[in-house]
Symmetry: C2
Subunit: 282 residues, 2 copies
DNA sequence: AAGCGGCGATACCTCTCCGGTATCGGAGCA
DNA sequence: TGCTCCGATACCGGAGAGGTATCGCCGCTT
């Protein structure tokens, strides 16, 4: 199977429309139709059901969509990492570390310091990204290593080491009645009147239904809380970056949050290994 | 990057010789040279150092070899799993489970029974293979799920669930002096006079250096032990399949062996998920 | 029922590029 | 100074990728 065929199929499977897929690929529709037919013939499998009511995926088609995306990511990763390896004139390509903006501020600083002190340390580019983007960046080779937070981020398919585990706190506007309490439970804060939990965007950019305000990053969120429009359950370490007007109360039965360092299993290059070693020693 | 280019590069990188690589690929040498040059130009990276003393990999080349192999495996896996999904006329493709021959006999039987009792269970093809082959089969799509044994097998890049943990025992010929002991330590059995530890083949089929007899499977090994030519440290569960003339003694400080069920992270098809669920309920 | 629009398949052409053969050029070696 | 080994280059023929024009089918409209 050629990369081109796979790219074409994924486009059609995502659009479920040959014309639009062709446009997206920057080619005409007939060669696309022909390529997909060829692919189906070579695989000996019907991938698409062409009804008059548009195109649908067969069972085999949805398997190929899932697996094909992963394969295309792997190819893209190979390409990008090779390019980066070649850029480094000294034979020591830099490492790209990705983490969520606003999280792990202190831990990250300590990690970078600890690694930089090692003999043979190479440059570490820090990349900050939004919620849920890290996995994709790690998978397609734009990043080499990531700091993830379980259970929010999925670590499926990566090697990981646990770095830090912490409880969660509820963040409230100063002066809220619960503020005086030494600790609360999930049930106490699940539906505070007038202070709904915020909604975070999904990977495709849309928001789930619900009462809470949509937010894109933790700065927005903290501001909304200070304004008395929301409350949120967050890892303890947000305390370090709290502004005036915000108070935290520990939530006894909230799931604990574990910060892990993650990397693609095949890419255990020397710099990544050293970075992981430095991290586990913190 | 096209699959063809990647396949060609991997062949050359493995052979370190354009002529032999071309032969292996079934093409002539000139188109191969040309394709590699094109790939290098498009990547903007020198992949191979052409010296008069043969070909060597550059830093970027070894990155592409590592990543490229993974990518090719992913493509092969996509192809195979799609073909298999299409073969099943009922919309319920069978699942291929792979495990080492001679291991996990009882556990496997229980797992298959438990899964078969589930509603909507599909056919499970059991594949038995040699040491260290499972990971490759899982990665390139010939298998969907595997029973692995940590710490012997690497689970890098797979999702896993632990099923069973057990200690290890030393297997000795009946009548050996240590036989009467209730337990021993690693130091006691590390170098028994006349009973060396066997040597298992590496992935490439060669054997490490050492005194012990080379063996390919546990039947051979147990026979050699019965003949008084070797001893071995193995998981407790071998007791179930011991023949006459063999005795086991627990080894207190041997690392414990964990049987895990593993699957590729992207391939969480419904049948695989059901199989994993059945396994964790055992 | 006839007409129309949307969409994928087909027909046919062009040109790129893949693979083959023949040959070159440089490095080691006798 | 040849000889050999090996990768690069030159050049050619054919498969195939992509383009345009058009067909055929289905559903909707009037």
């Amino acid at each position: 199977m050629e990369t081109r065929e796979l790219r074409y199929f994924v486009a059609v499977a995502e659009e479920l429309h040959f014309g639009r897929a062709a446009q997206r690929l920057g080619i005409a529709q007939p060669p696309l139709s022909r390529t997909i037919q060829q692919l189906e013939r070579r695989l000996g499998a019907a991938l698409l059901e062409r009804g008059s009511r548009g195109v649908t995926l067969t069972e085999a088609g949805s398997v190929l969509l899932r697996e094909g995306r992963a394969a295309l990511d792997a190819i893209e990763a190979a390409e990008r990492r090779t390019r980066r390896a070649a850029l480094a004139p000294t034979g020591r390509p830099g490492v790209v570390l990705v983490t969520k903006a606003g999280a792990t501020g202190e831990l990250l600083a300590k990690l970078l310091d600890a690694y930089a002190a090692e003999p043979g340390a190479v440059a570490v580019d820090v990349m900050l990204c939004g919620i849920g983007e890290q996995e994709r960046l790690l998978r397609d080779g734009r990043a080499d290593v990531a700091l993830l937070h379980r259970p929010f981020d999925s670590t499926a398919g990566f090697d990981t080491e646990e770095l830090h585990t912490e409880g969660q706190v509820v963040v409230l506007p100063a002066g809220h009645p619960l503020t005086g309490r030494a600790g609360v439970r999930m049930a106490d804060v699940a539906a505070l009147p007038g202070l709904p939990m915020p909604r975070w965007p999904r990977l495709d950019g849309t928001f789930p239904d619900g009462a809470g305000p949509p937010v894109h990053n933790s700065t927005q969120l903290l501001q909304l809380i200070a304004l008395g429009r929301a409350s949120a359950i967050m890892p303890e370490s947000v305390r370090a970056e709290l502004r005036d007007g915000l108070v935290t109360v520990p939530v006894a039965d909230a799931p604990t949050v574990t910060t892990v360092i993650a990397w693609p299993p095949h890419s255990r290059s020397r710099p990544v290994a050293a970075l992981v070693r430095a991290a586990t020693r913190l």
